[in-house]
């Protein structure tokens, strides 16, 4: 595979000596235009890599915060074509910040995997995280994605043992996403020392950058967790800021974009301090 924006970004950050702040929002939350404004503001707020959720009706791996954000987006009419549009509009103004699409397989399957990869590559997508496609299904999307120059990023969890880890690592590229807790997004905060212990064991097996996510909410947590890893992922805390800024009918307000980006700025400040 040729070098992607994700590879480049991790190299640059390594040179700078700081971890990546990876931020998650759902595409189209709370509506297309507001989501676009948030997306465009993320790089200058401090996001080094952007995870953009492809909304799905049945997000089994997500806790209430991301479930609700997914549902807000779907209610506002978000679909796969619009998510890809969002990426290409972002690429017109930012050619450096990597975008990773994250979600579940069915909407991709229905769109058509090959058609999806072509459109994603054209729009400027750099990576994919599809939580319900295990390594056993690598032929389905993971390997074709690499042929389109798109990194397929896989999740390792505390229950990924030494037997399973090589399978997980085999076709993973870009970075490895370490899920810090056994559970769903937005859960309780992880035990930092346990996380680092596990990360050290993974590092022996791979040279891929490792980003840690699930359960990270505050700048303080992000800073502690990021030690010993190459990046930290924050999702629920950001989409909760979107939720908290909405009016009583669930519509965006004047504050939606700024409040959301403020959360990202705080996280970034904590990480670079």
């Amino acid at each position: 595979m040729t070098e992607t924006r994700i590879d480049k970004r991790f190299q640059d950050l390594k040179a700078e000596g700081r971890p990546a702040l990876v931020t998650f929002i759902s595409a189209g939350d709370p509506d297309f235009e507001t989501s676009k404004e948030i997306l465009l503001g993320l790089p200058s707020a401090g996001a080094d890599i952007i995870e953009l959720g492809m909304p799905f009706s049945d997000p089994m791996a997500d806790g209430p915060a991301i479930q609700e954000s997914s549902i807000r987006a779907l209610k506002a009419g978000q679909n796969m074509s619009k998510t890809l549009q969002l990426v290409s509009q972002f690429r017109q103004v930012d050619i450096k910040t990597p975008i990773v699409l994250m979600g579940y397989y069915n909407p991709i399957y229905v769109y058509g995997p090959e058609r999806f990869l072509e459109a994603a590559s054209k729009a400027g997508v750099d990576g994919l995280i599809v939580v319900d496609l295990p390594p056993e299904a690598d032929d389905e999307l993971c390997i074709p994605a690499m042929d389109h120059g798109i990194n397929f990023i896989r999740l390792a969890t505390p229950t990924t043992d030494s037997v399973r880890l090589p399978m997980v690592l085999k076709n993973t590229s870009g970075f490895l996403y370490y899920v810090s807790i056994t559970g769903i997004t937005g859960s309780k905060a992880p035990d930092v020392s346990k996380v680092h212990e596990h990360i050290e064991r993974i590092k022996v097996r791979t040279n891929l950058p490792i980003a840690i996510g699930f359960g990270v909410k505050t700048g303080e947590q992000a800073k502690n967790i990021a030690k010993g890893a190459n990046g930290v992922v924050v999702g629920s805390a950001i989409v909760n800021a979107i939720r908290d800024s909405l009016d009583t009918d669930g519509g965006a307000t004047q504050k939606t974009v700024s409040r959301t980006l403020d959360v990202v700025k705080d996280l970034s400040r904590a990480l670079t301090a």
Binding site: F56, S57, D58, P59, M60, A61, G63, P64, Q67, I71, L74, N79, M80, Y105, N106, P107, I108, Y109, V110, Y111, D132, P134, A137, T157, T159, T160, D161, R164, I181, T182, G183, I184, S187
Partner: protein, 385 residues
């Protein structure tokens, strides 16, 4: 994923353990009340022959019911629950969770948990908790904690998502007893095996009654567990005609107005299964609709999807209205109040049997009793009870 691999390993070990088998068989016999009778529905048969004669035909298959509605807790769900709770105990799990729609599976899980002294938590859509109060009360009596799930539309699929979330969060001590032949591998296979007691008994019973195998099998399809349990032991008998009856709701042409994922859905992938789903053009899963809460599932087990594609099994819909008519017919002619789920199978039998010759042995799986449905049926018939 490792949780799934653990389950697979434990299941394969249990399968080759004769002691485990003996314990299950003992419970099936003395706790669940198996074997369930094979009953010749004589008056229904005669009625359908009259229908055939009126149409100028000479047919009218001989209709039998496999009476799984007589099982403890009132449906086939107990077969699977007994099998899985033994597996859970074998794996050393100390907490049981499950999803339920109408509450039949939830009641069966709460029952086996009471029997084995294990704490039990049931996830049930908030909408269903409201609609199925008697079953919620039953589960509570049995000592289970019922969580009302508010995500999504608060029905069966949301309950299943929530159960999966709980499972991945608490996998160390928790076993998830899934209620149908769907969900992540190896559940579809495991549930099929535990439900195959239905078809295996039938083979033997029909040989004893008629000296040969049946000609036609009919079962209703929610996620597909009672149907696969009836069908599976006969799949290699190519001359046997097999029909799965889906919930046609208001009609399969009505958008989101039915729960017939094979007759009126499209191919998709959910919970790691390639199957047929009720979904929109963007791959978002729809809620579906059926008069029967037990058939109100937006997908179907992967083995049924495969049996449809190979053409081995025919899948047909029956509407709410047809099921309601069949429900009343069976009650009056046979003195059996069927659940609304098998009433769908029965509705199709009333169409199919008159077209078959009189020596055709047709077996329908009477997979549940209708006591739970009398309030809903009264409502649909415009009566207040």
């Amino acid at each position: 994923m490792p949780l799934i691999l653990d389950l697979e390993r434990a299941y394969n070990e249990a399968r080759s353990d004769a002691g485990c088998d003996a314990e299950l068989n003992d419970l099936l016999a003395h706790y669940a009340g198996r074997p369930s009778p094979l009953y010749y529905a004589q008056r229904l048969t005669e009625h359908l022959r009259e229908v055939a004669t009126k149409d100028g035909q000479t047919g009218g298959a001989k209709v039998y019911f496999k009476r799984d509605e007589l099982n403890h807790t009132g449906s086939h769900k107990i077969n699977n629950c007994l099998g899985q709770i033994l597996l859970a105990r074998r794996m050393g799990k100390t907490r049981i969770i499950a999803e339920t729609g109408a509450g039949q599976h939830g009641v069966a899980v709460a029952t086996v948990c009471a029997r084995f002294g294990l704490p039990c938590e049931i996830f049930m859509g908030a909408t269903d908790v409201e609609r199925q109060k008697p079953n919620v009360f039953r589960m509570n009596l049995l000592g289970a904690k019922v969580h009302a799930v508010t995500s999504g539309a608060g029905t069966l699929k949301d309950a299943m998502n929530e159960a999966l979330r709980d499972w991945v969060s608490n996998v160390e001590n928790t076993y998830y007893i899934i209620g149908t032949a769907a969900g992540p591998h190896p559940y579809p296979e495991l549930v099929r095996d535990f439900q195959s007691v239905i078809g295996n008994e039938l083979r033997q019973q029909m040989m004893e009654r008629e000296g040969r195998l049946p000609d036609t099998l009919v079962a209703c399809i929610g996620g597909g567990s009672n149907a696969i349990g009836l069908f599976h032991p006969f799949l290699d008998d190519a001359e046997i005609e097999i029909y799965g009856v889906e919930a046609g709701g208001h009609g399969i042409d009505v958008p989101n107005g039915h729960a017939a994922s094979m007759s009126g859905g499209s191919p998709g992938v959910l919970h790691g299964n390639r199957t047929f789903l009720l979904q929109n053009e963007d791959g978002q899963i729809l809620e579906g609709h059926s008069i029967s809460a037990g058939l109100d599932y937006p997908g179907v087990g992967p083995e049924h999807a495969w049996l449809k594609e190979t053409g081995r099994v025919n899948y047909v819909p029956a509407t709410d209205k047809e099921a309601l008519t069949a429900f009343q017919l069976c009650t009056r002619l046979e003195g059996i109040i069927p659940a609304l789920e098998p009433s769908h199978a029965l509705a199709f039998v009333t169409k199919l049997a008159p077209t078959l010759p009189r020596d055709n042995l047709l077996v329908m799986n009477m997979c549940g009793r209708g006591d739970k449905d009398i309030f809903a049926v009264a409502g649909h018939l415009g009566m207040d009870i």
